[in-house]
């Protein structure tokens, strides 16, 4: 498990704060969990980003429904359209084009929340727009706090159901191979990783990598196996709620 929290240059021209959590569980039946919330502020403008997503090695539809329902309930209190939009954004973002695979079964993802809710605040300066912006920022902040508080409750019940399931070498090897995909995504495609590398913080970035990873050439699971079912699910995002 890794978790990070940072505050940079409070009160100066820019401000950034973030919390991110990644779990790479021992038991192959427990999915990997990633989540974060972050805030950037440059002069008068600020925006929030964040999300949470699940990467199982073996599909459990009940887990997927529980996780997505939990996130949707938090989103719905904020904006009835938000879950759908951020769910689609999550599916689009966590995708490996070279594999034609999504990284996991998704969740929610948002990159630039304030400009999304107040389209014009960057181009106008009237007091009215600024007031609206401030009021929406409070609302967005409240949503982001609720989301962060929801990270563990969205995931821990799944861990508890799975963590004592017996498993053998087959499941362990599959888990190590699937972690390879996780790392491929992080190093080949993740914007956060690129951003962090440019900032010179490689250890803070790579701390989210799985602790042990395996590669094998051209592994194709047997048709009808649980491993094949997982791959099939990753080829096309599903509606879970």
């Amino acid at each position: 498990m890794s978790s990070r929290g940072r505050n940079v240059e409070v009160g100066s021209e820019y401000f950034a704060g973030a919390l991110s959590i990644v779990f790479h569980p021992c038991n192959p039946y427990v999915p990997t969990f990633r989540s974060d919330v972050r805030y950037f502020e440059v002069k008068d403008f600020g925006w929030f980003g964040g999300g949470a997503d699940l990467t199982p090695n073996y599909l459990d539809e009940d887990d997927a429904r529980y996780f997505h329902t939990f996130l949707k309930e938090i989103c719905d209190k904020f904006d009835p359209d938000f879950y759908q939009r951020s769910k689609s954004a999550c599916d689009s973002y966590f995708y490996l084009p070279a594999r034609k695979e999504h990284r996991g079964i998704g969740g929610i993802f948002f990159d630039d929340l304030e400009s999304f809710t107040v389209d014009d605040h960057k181009s106008e300066n009237s007091i009215m727009v600024k007031e609206k912006y401030k009021s929406e920022r409070a609302q967005v902040f409240e949503f982001v706090c609720q989301l962060a508080k929801g990270f563990l409750p969205s995931y821990l019940p799944i861990v508890k159901r799975k963590r004592d399931l017996p498993y053998g070498d087959r499941e362990r090897q599959w888990q190590l191979l699937r972690r390879g995909r996780y790392l491929e995504f992080n190093l080949l495609y993740d914007r956060g990783v690129k951003f962090g590398l440019d900032g010179g913080r490689i250890e803070s970035i790579m701390v989210s990598a799985p602790p042990l990873i395996a590669w094998k050439y051209n592994v194709v699971p047997e048709i009808g196996s649980p491993e094949a079912q997982m791959i099939e699910t990753l080829s096309c995002p599903r509606i879970w709620v």
Copy 2:
């Protein structure tokens, strides 16, 4: 070990052929070895690329000197300046800026051999230039063949000296961590990987990844240890011949 050879569209508008070999040995005292030769031809123009380099987990200066001397002798027969230029190109290419580390102790690397030896063949069309180009192509082809024949003799004596050395968990864990760096380079920086992904050949690309890899946060070897000595060597390329 992985090795690839390909021929694409012979006799058509372009032609490409390549052989690449990567060894990820079990024993942590045996260095990882990577080498390739490749040829591209588009209409009237063709160029060779290739190289060989060594990535040890533990530095053995005798191995480094043997390997570089072997490659230099092949290069010297072709062009007395070539080793130095391709050695520097190798040091520059296999570098992880985010780590401020070179991937290994180098070797040789060349990307575009024919345009390097015949600077102007692309901009001129006289028969004289074409004749010179053809004659140099034969010479370059002979060098590339000699290099490819040298791959195993440059490496196997090192394997034989090291493969039966006893090792424990400390050396194995260090090997797995160092393989993480190898993969970081491949996925974050290697142009060949990017090129291969665009070509949709991800399994052929990822076959060069180490079979098992570990990550840990902020591992700093004890000062004076063999692990620290290795890292120090990777921070600045050395002259081995």
